[in-house]
């Protein structure tokens, strides 16, 4: 099947700085691709190059099998974009804002009216149709921003950090909306530096840093790169040195640390690590406050690949 987006050897240079360095990837129809990377890693620059908002130095970009150019209006008709910054008219109501941006694509009045209603419903702004942007909270404003970008029912949607500085309720609403769009058949490119969102939403993830792809694959494929199965954390003040040494020496333990009354054990593999650990603590009569297990996160992958945290 022909990919919806095909990026080959994309390079964008600002004088001596390479913001995007020889990037190649594909996005398949109906999938949500996550572009994950810290601030300044080149995610937005990549999106801007794909959308022809920026001229790039090298490479090629094809969307729906056609070369993407500034005047490729047929392709643009099928694309929806939600930028990181809220792009709405302060003077227009919620409804009029969506109407304007939808009107840039859809000429038919009746159809547009239906699309606007659908978009309002999707982001949950039914009660705020006549509100001006300045009367909306930050979260509602972000939802309006999304509605303006997707009201014309595009088949390819770019979402550039749509949940930055959003309250939990609005974030959940936005994420639900994105899932609905995916269910309706849209292909989505989602850039963020929130790994939880990527894990929750994306079918495939590309990790970018300094304009280069560090790794790509499904969540599980990427987590495998972290070379760990499980991370168990125990809060205890009563662990003796010989007990810690014993735990560290277990064959499936990759790494163990005990600092500030917190024991962290990273297991290479194993299915019942937590229950075995609990049994050991009971047997040794070691008191503890809390014990919990975590599967490896994309942050662990990023840490493994770059030696730094995703949010550094």
């Amino acid at each position: 099947m022909e990919p919806v987006i095909e990026v080959k050897n994309l390079t964008k240079e600002y004088k001596k700085l390479k913001a995007v360095n020889d990037l190649s990837f594909e996005v398949q129809k109906g999938e949500i691709l996550g572009l994950l990377g810290p601030n300044g890693s080149g995610k937005s620059t990549t999106i801007n190059c794909i959308l022809s908002l920026l001229k790039f130095s090298k490479g090629s970009i094809r969307i729906f099998g056609q070369e993407m150019k500034p005047n490729a209006y047929d392709i643009k008709r099928k694309i929806g974009v939600v930028f990181q910054e809220v792009a709405v008219f302060d003077e227009l109501s919620v409804y009029d804002n969506i109407d304007y941006f939808c009107g840039l694509y859809v000429k038919d009045k009746k159809q547009r009216r239906q699309y606007i209603e659908d978009a309002i419903q999707l982001v949950g702004l039914e009660d705020f149709k006549k509100f001006l942007p300045k009367q909306l909270s930050g979260g509602l404003l972000r939802r309006l921003n999304i509605a303006c970008g997707i009201a014309h029912k595009p088949s390819l949607i770019f979402l550039d950090e749509p949940t930055v500085a959003v309250d939990p309720q609005s974030r959940n609403n936005i994420l639900d909306g994105i899932k609905t769009l995916r269910d309706q058949g849209a292909t989505i490119v989602y850039t963020t530096h929130y790994m939880e969102e990527v894990e929750l939403l994306c079918d495939r993830v590309i990790i970018i840093d300094k304009g280069q792809i560090l790794a790509s694959g499904t969540n599980d494929e990427l987590k495998a790169l972290a070379n760990m199965e499980e991370k168990v954390t125990i809060e205890t003040k009563h662990l003796r040195k010989e007990q810690f040494d014993y735990l560290q020496s277990l064959p499936n333990v990759l790494e163990a640390t005990y600092q500030a009354h917190q024991l962290v054990i990273v297991y290479r593999q194993g299915n019942h690590n937590l229950s075995h650990l609990m049994e050991y603590f009971k047997q040794e009569q070691i008191q503890y406050d809390r014990m919990y297990s975590q599967r490896p996160t994309l942050n662990d992958v990023f840490l493994k690949l770059t030696g730094k945290e995703l949010r550094d």
Partner: protein, 381 residues
């Protein structure tokens, strides 16, 4: 027409400032036209004069003095020096000297000459006219009447005759004065209205984020720019039309004369120039908060410097020279010239059209600078 419709929606948010400018225009125009001196109303004045009569015994000199006394205030002085001082300081308008043997020469039909020293102002000229008229009438009747009483009666009757006069000019100077005042004030409203509204709207449309969203849309960006340009043009035209209708309501039928049409044409050219200026400012300014300040500086500044609020004649020469670099100066100059133009022909209209061309040249300059700035902005990416 999505862009045009949205333009109109955003425009409705700017209606209050436009209404405010209009109220200011109506208020100042009405106030000034009420206080404006109409040049068609006249009242008689009584000049102050001094008479030196060297022919005191003559009845004709006495009659002449009586005539003068009826139309002026005769002032007596103690000395010749005091008379000279009074004339020098314009305390009196003239000194009339009736020569010796005036009466004798008059009755003998000889040429009589009455000496007059005048301040040469309009009151002095009035007395000179009265004197000349008296001598002409009296010398005409002296050969007809033998009886002095009959002669003086005839002179009095003739001099008392009032002739109905009418102003030969067809110029409705009252209405044209009103029109000039109105259009001079409209300088402020057109500049402020166009710059404020267009800058506010374009700042929204051209804000980086909305521009980005528009560029990635399926609407051709050139088409989008054309729609925006058309919207601004329509707005400026409607604003101009609104002020023209207002001028018809305030000034009246004079607006349907050739003079009135020229006022309209002049303001149309200026409205176009204001539109171009607004484009330039909109390209320079990104911050909506700054627009109010810029409008005040531009509209109020140009109005004060170029004589929209204060008559041009009252402005210092240096200020007027500096005002040459502003289109408002040429617009107001045309308004002032138009109100005094008695006849309209190629020669008299030439300076009017040259001034309009200067305003148009300013418009072109603003467009060129706007395009250069816009191109530079595009190159940044």
């Amino acid at each position: 027409m999505t862009v045009f419709k949205t333009y109109c929606k955003v425009l409705t948010k700017c209606k209050w400032p436009i209404l405010l400018y209009t109220v200011i225009l109506i208020f100042f125009s009405a106030f000034n036209t009420q206080n404006n001196d109409t040049s068609t109303m006249f009242s008689a004045t009584r000049p102050k004069i001094h008479i030196i009569n060297l022919d005191e015994n003559s009845d004709v000199s006495k009659h002449f003095i009586t005539y003068l006394n009826d139309h002026s205030d005769i002032i007596d002085f103690d000395s010749e020096e005091a008379v000279s001082d009074a004339l020098f300081y314009h305390k009196i308008s003239c000194v009339i000297t009736i020569p010796k043997n005036f009466g004798e020469d008059f009755y003998q039909g000889k040429d009589v000459h009455i000496d007059i020293k005048s301040t040469k102002d309009y009151q002095g000229s009035l007395i000179e006219m009265m004197l000349e008229r008296y001598v002409k009438v009296a010398t005409a009747y002296v050969s007809i009447f033998d009886d002095h009483h009959d002669l003086f009666q005839a002179i009095d009757q003739t001099l008392a005759t009032e002739v109905e006069t009418s102003i030969a000019s067809s110029l409705d100077s009252d209405s044209l004065n009103k029109a000039a005042l109105y259009f001079n004030f409209s300088n402020y409203c057109l500049v402020a209205g166009c710059v404020f509204v267009i800058c506010m709207i374009l700042t929204s449309f051209k804000s980086d984020h909305i521009r980005k969203r528009t560029i990635i849309s399926s609407l051709n960006y050139k088409k989008y720019n054309r729609q925006l340009l058309l919207s601004n043009g329509v707005f400026t035209f409607v604003l101009w039309l609104f002020y023209i209708v207002l001028s018809i309501l305030l000034v009246g039928n004079a607006m349907f004369t050739l003079h009135g049409l020229l006022y309209m044409l002049n303001s149309f050219v200026f409205a176009f120039c204001s539109l171009c200026l607004a484009f330039l400012i909109a390209n320079l300014v990104k911050n909506k908060e700054a627009i109010n300040g810029i409008v005040n500086v531009l509209a109020l500044g140009s109005s004060f410097l170029c004589g929209a609020f204060v008559p041009m004649e009252m402005l210092p020469e240096g200020v007027l020279k500096a005002a040459h670099v502003l289109p408002s100066y040429w617009f107001i100059k045309n308004n002032e010239t138009l109100k005094t133009l008695e006849t309209l022909n190629t020669d008299t209209l030439q300076p009017i059209f040259i001034n309009m061309l200067v305003i148009f040249a300013f418009s072109c300059l603003f467009i060129i600078i706007s395009n250069i700035i816009a191109k530079k902005k595009r190159k940044i990416n």
